[in-house]
């Protein structure tokens, strides 16, 4: 029984990371109506920024760690906004397939930049979590797990409040529904899209630090699999829906962790994607997917 709880908590922690990444996918999809497949690679870049700060520059204690975390998040944020400006904005009125292919191109570009600078050998990321964790009975909970879950819960509460109770958040909701009508209200669509990329990428930055602290091997392909899983989580929860991404991420993480523990570690990914297929067969819009009950 105690091992079950320990797998469950590992799953929730992993799922929280998926949820943070999934938020970036789902918010960008909701507002710019595009799938930003470079999102996973932003995570990898964030990991390398923090790795460079901590291991190469030696910011490994006290304030240095906070500096490294700050640089990692800021770096992801700027990268996300830059990618949007350079690669996606010129394609605002292009067919969605062109945007999708561009996103895949950006994804490879980022991977190759990392490959060029850091080489293909995985780096050993040293955890930025300074807290040892604790035990409840026989269940050992690591510091990384505690911090991951706590940070994710805080971010999700903060993001929900931001979207529903601030002017910029309302602007995001308006743009996601009708760009033209939002403009008539005085909403600057381009700025709202930039803001969405900034928030999504900053969340990817947070996710990268949590992910690399928990799973410390960092390579140019580190972002790819979590990126795909988080995308799955976003679809699972209902793409475009913020609570959907949160719930989808956590459920996915738990399914993955439990199937690794009880069924087969090799099959766990197949099981995760299998569940996605079943959910989509039953409810094509995902768990929290928006169903439109329009009246004419």
């Amino acid at each position: 029984m105690s091992s079950f709880f320990s797998y469950l908590i590992t799953g929730i922690s992993l799922g929280s990371i998926y949820a943070l990444i999934a938020l970036g996918y789902t918010m960008v999809y909701g507002i710019a109506k595009m799938l930003n497949f470079a999102h996973g690679d932003v995570i990898m870049i964030g990991g390398y920024i923090v790795f460079t700060a901590v291991s190469t520059l030696g910011w490994s204690s006290g304030l240095g760690i906070f500096g490294a975390i700050f640089c990692g998040i800021l770096g992801c944020l700027l990268l996300g906004v830059l990618v949007e400006k350079v690669a996606y904005k010129p394609l605002r009125n292009a067919p969605s397939l062109a945007v999708l292919i561009t996103a895949i191109g950006v994804s490879y570009l980022l991977q190759n930049i990392a490959l060029l600078i850091f080489g293909s050998n995985p780096k050993n990321f040293s955890s930025v979590v300074m807290f040892d964790g604790f035990s409840i009975g026989k269940v050992r909970i690591s510091g990384e797990t505690v911090v991951t879950i706590a940070v994710s819960v805080l971010i999700m509460i903060g993001l929900t409040l931001f979207v529903n109770h601030t002017k910029s958040g309302m602007a995001m909701l308006a743009v996601s529904e009708d760009k033209g009508a939002a403009q008539l209200m005085g909403v600057n669509v381009n700025r709202t899209i930039s803001l969405t990329f900034a928030i999504g990428s900053a969340l990817a930055g947070v996710a990268s630090i949590l992910l690399c602290s928990t799973y410390p091997l960092l390579s140019p392909y580190t972002g790819a699999m979590p990126g795909i899983k988080a995308f799955t989580a976003a679809v699972f929860g209902g793409i475009g829906s913020i609570p959907g991404a949160m719930i989808g991420g956590v459920i996915l993480g738990v399914i993955e962790s439990l199937s690794k523990a009880y069924i087969s570690s090799q099959f766990s990914d197949a099981i995760v994607f299998g569940v996605l297929i079943i959910v989509l067969l039953v409810k094509p819009t995902g768990i929290m997917g928006k169903k439109l009950n329009e009246k004419v």
Partner: protein, 234 residues
């Protein structure tokens, strides 16, 4: 107040608006009438910047709007109730109204505008917390109008406010348009329902395939035999 000069609009190769000029003076209700596809909606979209003009000018109180992005227009005091209402279906009635006041900063002003809207549209007050997509067609039209009024416009453009509504609701909507006009807001009304539009307008322009073919006082147009034959079904 609003002056449109020699406006030309193209959709690809198609010349949708062929040199239209008209003007709306302060305090007036001006109707733009015409059949389906005459270009009425295109003109409104060009005026508020959602569609770019090929040539020509749109002046609001002397300021050329053609160079401005659409989201700046509302700050100059012009609101647009778009065709098909285009309310934010997934947000509540109240949030839709708050978005209507996006261009305002003063909280007290926003509050008084909300009260103004609820006074004219008591139905919206009853459904304040309801998701807008679940409202009836008439209520959605009221919400679209209320949302536009939230920005304190000097001039309001309304695109087919009577579309798809029952005669009773059409009468109610037109009554509210008259009230809004009496409160000092200038109105540019685009309508297929020529009879109703002409009955509340001061002046009107008749649009046919991208050109203005007639203009004059609304009461004169109502009695014009050509208008009667083509638009009033008499």
């Amino acid at each position: 107040m609003l002056k449109v000069e020699d406006l030309q609009v193209y959709y690809g190769m198609i010349n949708a608006i062929k040199g239209v000029s008209f003007e709306v003076n302060e305090g007036e209700v001006v109707a733009l009438i015409g059949a389906n596809g005459a270009g009425k909606t295109t003109i409104l979209h060009t005026v508020t910047g959602l569609v770019a003009a090929k040539s020509g000018h749109v002046y609001l109180e002397g300021r050329d709007l053609c160079k401005l992005p659409a989201h700046k227009i509302v700050y100059l005091g012009m609101a647009h109730v778009p065709e098909g209402r285009r309310i934010f279906q997934q947000l509540t009635v109240y949030d839709n109204l708050r978005l209507g006041a996006f261009s305002l900063k003063d909280k007290a002003k926003i509050e008084s505008n909300i009260n103004y809207v609820f006074k004219h549209f008591p139905r919206l007050l009853e459904r304040k917390n309801q998701i807008a997509g679940t409202l009836s067609g008439g209520e959605q039209q009221m919400l679209a109008m209320g949302r536009a009024l939230m920005s304190n416009p000097k001039i309001i453009l309304m695109d087919e406010p009577s579309m798809g509504l029952s005669p009773l609701l059409v009468a109610e909507i037109f009554k509210i348009i008259s009230e809004v006009s009496k409160d000092g807001t200038t109105v540019l009304l685009v309508e297929q329902n020529a009879k109703k539009a002409l009955s509340i307008a001061d002046r009107a322009y008749v649009l046919e395939t991208g050109k203005i073919v007639m203009e004059g006082k609304a009461s004169d147009l109502l009695n014009d035999p050509r208008i009667k034959a083509a638009y009033l079904g008499e």
